[in-house]
């Protein structure tokens, strides 16, 4: 019970900070929209490449990537907030006050979810407004958003682990760069089968590829690799939960 109360308090404060501060809220809304525009708008001719067989058009193809990207970066941006809390001393006071400190990590994770839900609603509304074609039904779309939530959870737990170990805003690139690379080493612009050379090899073993392919399958109404994608998402959440809790212990030891 105490854990949930702590989590609720941390989540409310973090979300309140984000929603009432335009410099935090606007980038998380504008950046995904910008990537969606740049990719779906600028590169739509790629759907004419021989072998490009995604049935719902390039806008839907890119929507899935941008949705997952926004989920992941929603988690990373929350990690920046954790680092800021450590830098300005708030997190130390929080560690002293919380009867159960696991609630702190849970609270940040809940805040990341809330933050991403705002972004996802906005992005989805824009995608439908520009005529995105969806072949899947409500269950398929629920599958897509659940998958994105798992990625959001994994990302915030990764970032929380880094932030709690390093406790400085200068850890930002360490949180961001690996995530950026893992995302972009997946089949971002074309289906996996159309990738050639080294990037095909990297994308094939990249766990994000499974999630992306499953997400695109949901939107097309032709679910594919669902078990593997959910297994990957859950494994990432589990692994980074351990990482985040160990980060919390590291912060506790640092005092």
């Amino acid at each position: 019970m105490r854990t949930l109360q702590v989590a609720q308090g941390v989540a409310w404060r973090t979300l309140h900070n984000v929603v009432t501060n335009p410099s935090l809220l606007l980038p998380s809304l504008i950046f995904p929209l910008f990537f969606f525009t740049a990719f779906a708008g600028g590169l739509s001719r790629i759907s004419d490449v021989p072998g490009f067989d995604y049935p719902n058009g390039y806008t839907a193809f890119q929507f899935v990537f941008v949705l997952l990207q926004s989920a992941v970066f929603g988690g990373v941006f929350t990690g920046f907030g954790i680092a800021r809390d450590f830098e300005n001393g708030f997190a130390r006071r929080l560690l002293l006050a919380a009867p159960n400190r696991l609630g702190i990590v849970l609270g940040y994770a809940l805040a990341a979810t809330g933050r991403w839900l705002i972004t996802a609603s906005f992005l989805t509304a824009v995608a439908f407004a520009v005529g995105m074609r969806v072949g899947g039904d409500g269950v398929d779309l629920f599958g897509l958003y659940t998958l994105a939530l798992l990625m959001n959870g994994a990302a915030v737990l990764w970032s929380a682990g880094v932030a709690m170990r390093l406790r400085t805003m200068q850890a930002g690139p360490i949180m961001q760069l690996p995530v950026f690379l893992v995302l972009f080493f997946a089949p971002v612009y074309v289906p996996l089968a159309l990738l050639q050379g080294w990037i095909h090899g990297v994308a094939t073993v990249n766990p994000v590829t499974r999630v992306l392919e499953a997400g695109r399958g949901f939107v097309a109404g032709q679910p594919t690799e669902v078990g593997l994608a959910y297994g990957t998402g859950l494994a990432l959440v589990l692994f980074f939960s351990i990482w985040a809790v160990r980060g919390l212990r590291s912060a506790e030891r640092a005092g």
Partner: protein, 257 residues
């Protein structure tokens, strides 16, 4: 004149040394554009199969992007360093000396030129290793270096202007996303004539960054394209002239004794 040259030299050396002492300021402008190049050239290679695509190597097509992206980093570095000079009071102390204000700007931009040359050398070397050969030959290489210096000067002066007007490193950093938007809404990833969405093609056509990219790209994959070079050099010169005029004015205001 000699005293002015000494001032520029000293401040230029300070700018270069300060950049070298902050590895993030050297590594970022070198590595990040190359990472994006690697990611995009791998992921978008299939684009070369589109009818009308100007080359069969997407890497060669995309090699122009790091030059412009590197210039964006130069903007941020120059602006952030100058803002720090303002925030720490260095500029105020400088205004108590006989040193001419414009020497500070020239010195700072001298540092940008040195970093730009280093970036160009790295990007061209990577391109050469991957198998890209300039269609414009050795003379084209010289033109690319000159063009990159001109673009670096222009963007560096823009960063200096932002720093001098705001006096805040954070404000300068917040410009980065704006420049990034200009980069992405351009012919960065696909030739303008192959962009299918009309409004995007129009935006890319109106975007000066498209012409900067196309000037470098023409030297790499086409050879000597007078129109692309004239547009590229014309726009780069215009940006540099306007940015230098603005930053000189802002410097006079900031250093009013």
């Amino acid at each position: 004149m000699s005293a002015f040259a000494d001032q520029v030299y000293l401040l230029g050396r300070r700018s270069v040394v300060r950049t070298i002492r902050q590895p993030a300021n050297v590594v970022g402008p070198l590595i990040f554009p190359l990472l994006l190049l690697a990611v995009n050239s791998g992921g978008l290679r299939a684009e070369t199969r589109l009818p009308g695509f100007p080359t069969n190597s997407f890497f060669a097509f995309a090699l122009a992007v790091p030059f412009i992206q590197g210039a964006l980093f130069a903007t941020m570095n120059t602006g952030t360093d100058l803002a720090r000079d303002i925030q720490t009071g260095f500029l105020n102390r400088l205004s108590l000396t006989p040193m001419r204000g414009i020497a500070l700007l020239c010195g700072q931009l001298g540092g940008v030129v040195v970093l730009t040359i280093a970036q160009v050398a790295v990007y061209l070397a990577v391109g050469y290793i991957v198998g890209v050969r300039l269609e414009s030959g050795l003379a084209g290489l010289v033109v690319i270096v000159l063009f990159a210096i001109l673009v670096g000067l222009g963007f560096g002066a823009l960063g200096a202007f932002a720093a001098l007007r705001t006096g805040s490193g954070e404000a300068v950093q917040s410009l980065f996303p704006v420049f990034f938007v200009f980069l992405f809404i351009s012919s960065m990833n696909i030739p303008r004539n192959l962009i299918a969405v009309t409004w995007f093609r129009d935006a890319a056509t109106a975007n000066p960054v498209s012409y900067l990219l196309e000037a470098v790209r023409s030297l790499i994959i086409t050879g000597w394209d007078a129109e692309a070079l004239a547009l590229g050099f014309g726009i780069a010169t215009a940006i540099a002239v306007v940015a230098l005029a603005l930053s000189s004015w802002a410097l006079r205001v900031r250093m009013a004794r």
